[in-house]
């Protein structure tokens, strides 16, 4: 990935990824919704050695603007060979249960907006017969749990969407990489007491890029989550539904 579009560039995981890409001398087009913070990320990337850094502040919930955004990024960088989709919200499960509008907003940001971006990106990459699409989903999408099934459903839908896309783009030499982090110590989880299962954004960024470089399909980061989720997925539903998860 030498010319990369980063969506949700102000996310902690995205910032760590941007640094690694900058150190490799990549050209970057950064998108986030807070202009001031985005500028801070852009300056950091430029100072750390990115060949070129362009940025644009916008709310990615605005799906109507995606097609033009992707075009603009490609123009600015003289083409695109990679994209990282990192924006997302954790939402509030209780609030989502009480009011559909709240749940819908989570679905919109985590799934609809990502799927819309992927549609524009996939068509472009399919036509140019090259490129890597890296999308941050979550272990939470592997199985619905009462404590966060709205977030989980948005990520689960994203994971399934990516599976289909990967299947479609395999013949076009386009890699579709689903990254499933476990708990990561970022502003998204600032309110959660930390334990040994938490990874740093840098750790996740390294895993993410390793997967992208290796054109992997689905990866858990850190890797031990593959085992944890295997166990969680294999618990029979009649038992699972009685658990406090």
């Amino acid at each position: 990935m030498k010319k990369v579009l980063i969506l949700g560039a102000t996310s902690a995981i995205a910032q760590a990824t941007v640094r690694l890409l900058a150190a490799r001398g990549a050209s970057l087009y950064l998108v986030g919704r807070n202009a001031q913070n985005l500028e801070a990320v852009a300056k950091d990337a430029a100072t750390r050695g990115a060949a070129k850094v362009e940025s644009r502040a916008m709310d990615l919930d605005d799906c109507g603007a995606h097609e033009a955004l992707v075009e603009q990024a490609a123009q600015a960088l003289g083409g695109l060979d990679g994209a990282v989709i990192a924006h997302g919200v954790l939402g509030d499960q209780d609030a989502s249960q009480r009011a559909w509008a709240t749940a819908e907003a989570v679905m919109r940001t985590n799934f609809l907006s990502a799927a819309s971006l992927l549609t524009s990106l996939a068509n472009r990459f399919e036509a140019q017969k090259t490129g890597t699409l890296v999308v941050i989903s979550s272990v939470a999408g592997d199985r619905g749990r009462q404590s966060n099934y709205v977030y989980g459903a948005s990520k689960g839908a994203l994971t399934v969407f990516l599976q289909g896309l990967r299947n479609r783009l395999a013949k076009s030499n386009v890699a579709v990489v689903t990254v499933k982090p476990g708990f990561v110590d970022t502003p998204m989880t600032a309110h959660v007491p930390k334990n040994k299962l938490f990874a740093s954004p840098e750790q996740v960024a390294r895993g993410l890029l390793r997967a992208a470089d290796g054109r992997k399909n689905e990866v858990y980061v850190p890797g031990f989550w593959a085992l944890i989720m295997l166990i969680i997925r294999s618990i029979p539903e009649p038992i699972f539904k009685r658990l406090k998860l």
Partner: protein, 463 residues
């Protein structure tokens, strides 16, 4: 998450933490008073805030700009010196001043106005800070520079994090031709020899410091090795990095707390002897990469755990030349008799280059730094004594390494304290600050207790 500790792992305090994320964000609302916290490489309690909140700056680690033509770096305050070096050294620039570890933040380096092996030539870190932004709890932001808000600039450099949060800073780096240091090791038989060699080295060597064998007594008191060096001359430009340039102690780690018996008098003396003799057998002059020269301890990750769970006390003082010989002799003698050996002791001379910081510690004279495993009462009495000797000699003790100096000592060491007070942020405080500025000067109920003498307030604080 475990509450952050200071490098000496003493004292242990309960405090809240808030991770800062963006330099443009307002300060978070949090319980109690606030205190910025970098990498916690201060030894005592100046980076701790019992019953208050630490503002963790580790995510304020973005670079803002670096101009390879002028060597001016602008970055957020949580950027580490390690990050700075990785960025600038390959491009021919270096830190103008660096402490003995690269794992400190730019904000921490400013707030303690840190010094390095080149103090006699370059002064303190604060001198190279062109400007910075100070965010106060009332929401105001000030750019501070020698010619812009100069009072805030002077109060904040060496200001112990108490004037507000430094969000970003601009530092002037110094040019280097290559990453190598031509280092010489000069054995010094005793304190007098050290003082003579140290002063004689100041003219020709950019970097000097000496390691002292704290157990040597009598005529050998102050015996040690003086290291001096300069960045290597042009003929070493382009030299490929060889393993031997980095060999110094790499790859060691102290993963768990060492039990206290690992550090008895015998083992320290053996370590010191080995170190002295190993160095003596080596060529006097050698080429080394800057990393092992400036940061030998960084190679042993978590070395502070060697002192076990009770932590340790650092003591670093500076005494003026006029009293240095006698005062240092007494201090070394007192500590070699103390029964609590210092594992690492470092001597160095400070020059007369003034710092812009009002509460800056370095001043002309000789500085001595020692570590003492915390063995309770015994250690406290010893360090208390060393403090008294320093005061009598007209010197000062370094707050960044202190967990016990008394309010009286602090006032004596930092005569510009009064000038500083109006610049304190009313919402900011630290364990150190409350200790050296108690709201009620003495505790009447305890006065005259024990053996009739008033216990020093700093001793009370640990019980």
């Amino acid at each position: 998450m475990r509450s952050p500790q200071s490098w000496g792992r003493f004292p242990r305090v309960a405090q809240e933490t808030r991770a800062l994320t963006w330099r443009s964000d307002a300060l978070p609302s949090a319980p109690g008073t606030l205190l910025p916290h970098g990498l916690g490489r201060s030894y005592g309690d100046s980076c701790l805030n019992a019953d208050g909140t630490l503002l963790l700056t580790s995510a304020l680690d973005r670079l803002i700009d670096f101009d390879p033509a002028t060597g001016v770096l602008r970055c957020e305050s949580g950027v580490t010196l390690d990050t700075v070096l990785r960025l600038v050294a390959p491009r021919g620039w270096f830190l103008p001043v660096t402490p003995g570890t690269k794992y400190v933040t730019v904000g921490g380096a400013i707030a303690n106005d840190v010094h390095g092996k080149n103090h006699h030539r370059g002064g303190t870190f604060g001198r190279y800070v062109r400007r910075f932004e100070l965010l106060r709890s009332d929401g105001t932001r000030r750019v501070c520079a020698p010619d812009e808000n100069p009072d805030w600039y002077g109060a904040t450099i060496g200001g112990l994090g108490l004037t507000g949060l430094i969000t970003w800073a601009e530092v002037q780096l110094v040019p280097i031709r290559n990453p190598y240091i031509l280092q010489e090791t000069v054995p010094c038989e005793n304190l007098d020899a050290f003082l003579d060699v140290a002063r004689a080295s100041e003219a020709d060597y950019e970097f000097t410091m000496a390691w002292v064998d704290c157990l040597a007594r009598g005529r050998k008191l102050g015996r040690g090795l003086l290291f001096r060096g300069n960045f290597a001359p042009p003929q070493f430009d382009g030299l490929p990095l060889a393993k031997s340039h980095l060999s110094h102690g790499s790859g060691l780690a102290v993963p768990v707390d060492m039990p206290a018996f690992c550090l008895n008098r015998l083992s320290v003396s053996a370590f010191n002897w080995l170190y002295y003799h190993r160095q003596r057998g080596r060529p006097r002059q050698r080429l080394t990469h800057y990393d092992p020269f400036f940061y030998p301890l960084d190679a042993i990750y978590g070395w502070n755990r060697i002192y076990g769970a009770r932590g340790f006390l650092q003591f670093q003082c500076v005494v003026p030349y006029s009293t240095a010989r006698d005062a240092l002799r007494e201090i070394l003698e007192r500590s070699s008799r103390g029964g609590v050996p210092s594992f690492l002791s470092v001597l160095k001379t400070f020059g007369d280059i003034p710092s812009p910081g009002w509460l800056s510690f370095p001043r002309q004279g000789v500085t001595l730094a020692m570590d003492f495993a915390n063995r309770g009462e015994k250690t406290w009495r010893l360090v208390e004594d060393l403090d008294r000797l320093t005061r009598e000699a007209g010197g000062a003790v370094y707050p960044a390494k202190d967990a016990r100096m008394s309010p009286e000592s602090f006032a004596a060491y930092f005569p510009r304290r009064e000038q500083f007070l109006p610049y304190l942020d009313p919402a900011f405080s630290s364990s150190f600050w409350r200790r050296v500025n108690p709201a009620t000067p003495s505790l009447p109920a305890l006065e005259g207790s024990a053996d009739g003498a008033t216990p020093p307030v700093s001793l009370l604080a640990i019980r």
